[in-house]
């Protein structure tokens, strides 16, 4: 069946920004012509009137936690994929901290088989650096890769041993696997549960200093420089990390970085009176850090916006703040929060699409493009539609968002993967 998307502003970063019609046929982009040239009358199939909308290469979230296998009450691969589709994402990278950990090919294959039964969003598993995320011995990277893993990380349980991290980077580089680092010196973080500073002092909570992130970012940058291996730094939250990454890039070290919407939107003050929906790791920081993260997005120090979508149920969240699990969900609010950056002049619309689509694809060695002949992975969104976040309506099984009740602008209307519509809110 053919699909015609008519009159959208088509933004394919570096290639196109114009009002165009897109014809999809056989799962690929069959034709793109200036709006009005193609005639729907001689075409069999579905036509979407998309004037006022933006069509972009499918958005990719390179940092999500789907809880399958092991904690399906929080999120399954199917529910996570539906949440991704509703948020405009055509592809996600799943972190390995499932139960069992994705540190071997059978788990990777299980994830992919579950993904094949889901709504159609592409799932790219990320394997563990160390077996069971214990930081003691390396996972079999080549096996993981051959099963379909696109990168390795010990996200959440960062590799403490500098030697092990060095070897992991060297070894992964030989296989063309990306190493993603959750930068945290766990000793320095010292069991803290929010940002160290005035708010933590007032609330009587133990703090995590910026330096807990920065020292590890600097270590891993040094290891990237030493080994020449590519390094991707996850969920950047501090001004000092942004500066370190910018400096590393200037010196030609092959480092890339991502941040999450909550780090460019919220400060530590969101913790309010012990709101566990504002608890994540790294923690929400200060206004100065938020500004630095936004600057980093603007000047390219930070390449990617990824959600760190971390579903938890009330069992983990409706408890004492220091005992609550870290993490918030983000797939269904990420695009609208990203669009706030466009509204406030931090990013151009093209810049936002780079951060949410083409940059993560490039970093992972995947393609994301609206070229004729490319797979029809397309996100169609309204940049103007105003809506109110209601977590109860989420496709995700979990509800742990700090943005519940927020009024946001911009929403995905149609998400297409390989020509198949996986989410449709077109009226």
């Amino acid at each position: 069946m053919q699909i015609l998307i008519k009159g959208a502003r088509v933004i394919d970063p570096g290639r196109m920004d114009a009002l165009m019609d897109i014809r999809v046929d056989g799962g690929v982009i069959a034709d793109i012509q200036p709006a009005g040239v193609m005639s729907p009358s001689n075409m069999e199939g579905r036509v979407y009137e998309a004037s006022g909308c933006i069509a972009a290469p499918g958005l990719m979230d390179m940092h999500v936690h789907f809880r399958e296998p092991g904690q399906e009450y929080k999120e399954t691969i199917a529910s996570g994929c539906s949440a991704a589709a509703a948020g405009g994402f055509t592809a996600v990278c799943t972190m390995p901290n499932t139960h069992p950990v994705n540190d071997n090919a059978p788990v990777t294959r299980f994830i992919l088989s579950r993904a094949a039964e889901a709504c159609g969003v592409r799932v790219y598993p990320v394997g563990a650096i160390s077996k069971s995320l214990e930081g003691k011995s390396l996972s079999e990277f080549a096996e993981l890769k051959s099963a379909g893993a696109v990168a390795v990380t010990d996200d959440g349980m960062p590799v403490r041993s500098s030697l092990m991290m060095r070897r992991a980077m060297e070894y992964a580089n030989g296989l063309g696997l990306l190493v993603i680092s959750h930068c945290e010196d766990m000793e320095l973080a010292s069991g803290g549960c929010m940002n160290e500073g005035e708010t933590a002092t007032r609330l009587g909570l133990s703090g995590i200093p910026n330096a807990a992130e920065t020292v590890m970012a600097l270590r891993d940058i040094a290891l990237s420089e030493l080994t020449g291996a590519r390094l991707h730094i996850a969920h950047v939250s501090t001004a000092e990390s942004v500066r370190a990454i910018r400096e590393a890039k200037r010196r030609g070290i092959p480092v890339t970085a991502e941040t999450a919407p909550h780090y460019f939107t919220l400060t530590e003050e969101a913790v309010g009176a012990y709101d566990t929906h504002a608890k994540m790791n790294p923690p929400l920081r200060t206004h100065k850090d938020v500004e630095a993260v936004r600057e980093g997005l603007a000047d390219g120090a930070i390449d990617v916006i990824a959600t760190d979508h971390a579903p938890h149920s009330s069992v983990e969240k409706a408890v004492e703040f220091n005992l609550a699990a870290n993490g918030v969900i983000g797939l269904e609010t990420s695009l609208a929060l990203g669009l706030k950056l466009v509204d406030s002049g931090v990013l151009s619309m093209t810049g936002l699409i780079e951060k949410m689509s083409t940059n993560p694809a490039r970093i992972l060695g995947l393609t994301s493009s609206l070229a004729v002949g490319a797979p029809a992975d397309i996100t169609l969104f309204s940049p103007e539609k105003v809506w109110t976040v209601d977590a109860r309506q989420f496709k995700s099984i979990s509800r742990n968002t700090p943005f519940d009740g927020w009024t946001l602008k911009g929403k995905a209307l149609l998400t297409m993967v390989g020509g198949n519509v996986v989410f449709n809110a077109m009226t």
């Binding site: 160290e196 005035e198 002092t201 609330l203 009587g204 909570l205 703090g207 200093p209 004492e320 220091n322």
Partner: protein, 308 residues
């Protein structure tokens, strides 16, 4: 007579100067009851007070228990180990179950900062914070304010030095709020490792690491218990060095005003943060604090149940 328009007593920050004064005035009147041969009035007859202590405590729990009984309330003590906690029930579930038995007041001691807020938000019963993590201990602060006011006649303009493990102390936090709110000026003193970030700006207090400076011209010196475990977190090298730099002895006391009051929330480490001769000496009002504790808690139980 004004009344306390609050369901819960969670911290000092949410109490106004007028409300603090009301509690202190009421407590002053309550003191007389404890001096009677029959130490009981019928005021809270038929009221149920649950003393829910997730963290061990002797002084505070006993004080609340005696306060409740002197007002004829029925008080029930639950401790962390005896309650459902060990069975893995969440705080909220345990609290909801308690609520279903219709208590009027739940007094909560908990090792997690903010735990009383969870209860206060979801329960109809009044919640009184008897100490939560490192965050707040409002009844301790109120009893300290009462004790000082009784000895000095006023709180306005006093110089208060709080010395010891500021970082981990809910007593220090609540007293920084309480004393500054009532017009006193507060200086906190500890090694830099035991002063949390942003202490001065978030609490409006002065910070020093030099004990003689903290004590200079003080009207009140409040010593905090130092836990020996802090050595393992590298907060200070040895008890010996801590005691030499931050222990209160007669020599350091010389820097203070001649009528200085020496306080300690207890339990004290004799010879570590305070020398025995100072703890037992003429400036010490440590046991007066304990007496005030019962009166302040009687006042709070009375006021939150709508007394006037």
């Amino acid at each position: 007579m004004p009344t306390l328009m609050k369901k819960d007593i969670l911290d000092m920050t949410s109490l106004s100067v007028e409300e603090i004064s009301l509690i202190l005035d009421t407590a002053e009147r309550m003191k007389e009851i404890s001096e009677r041969p029959v130490k009981k009035v019928p005021t809270l007859r038929g009221k149920t007070v649950v003393l829910f202590f997730y963290e061990p405590s002797t002084r505070t729990r006993t004080s609340f228990d005696i306060a409740a009984k002197r007002l004829s309330a029925d008080s029930i003590s639950l401790s962390g180990s005896a309650s459902s906690v060990v069975k893995g029930e969440t705080l909220l579930d345990t609290a909801r179950n308690l609520e279903a038995m219709k208590p009027d007041i739940i007094v909560l001691r908990h090792s997690s900062s903010g735990a009383p807020y969870i209860l206060a938000k979801s329960l109809r019963a009044s919640v009184i914070n008897a100490g939560d993590g490192m965050h707040a201990h409002p009844t301790q602060s109120l009893l300290d304010l009462l004790t000082v006011r009784e000895h000095k006649g006023t709180l306005e303009g006093l110089r208060v030095a709080i010395i010891g493990d500021i970082m981990h102390s809910r007593v220090a936090r609540s007293n920084c709020v309480g004393f500054t709110k009532m017009g006193a000026s507060v200086t906190v003193c500890a090694p830099p490792t035991l002063i949390p970030k942003g202490m001065a700006s978030s609490y409006g207090v002065s910070v020093t690491h030099h004990m003689p400076e903290a004590v200079a011209n003080a009207d009140v010196i409040m010593m905090l218990r130092i836990q020996k475990e802090r050595q393992t977190g590298f907060f200070f090298p040895t008890e010996r060095e801590y005691s030499r730099l931050y222990g209160l002895n007669r020599d350091v006391l010389e820097y203070a005003k001649s009528d200085v009051l020496v306080m300690h929330p207890g339990p004290i480490n004799r010879g570590l943060e305070i020398s025995p001769d100072v703890a037992d000496g003429p400036h010490s009002i440590i046991l007066d604090q304990v007496t005030s504790g019962v009166a302040v808690r009687m006042a709070i139980l009375y006021l939150v149940t709508g007394g006037a």
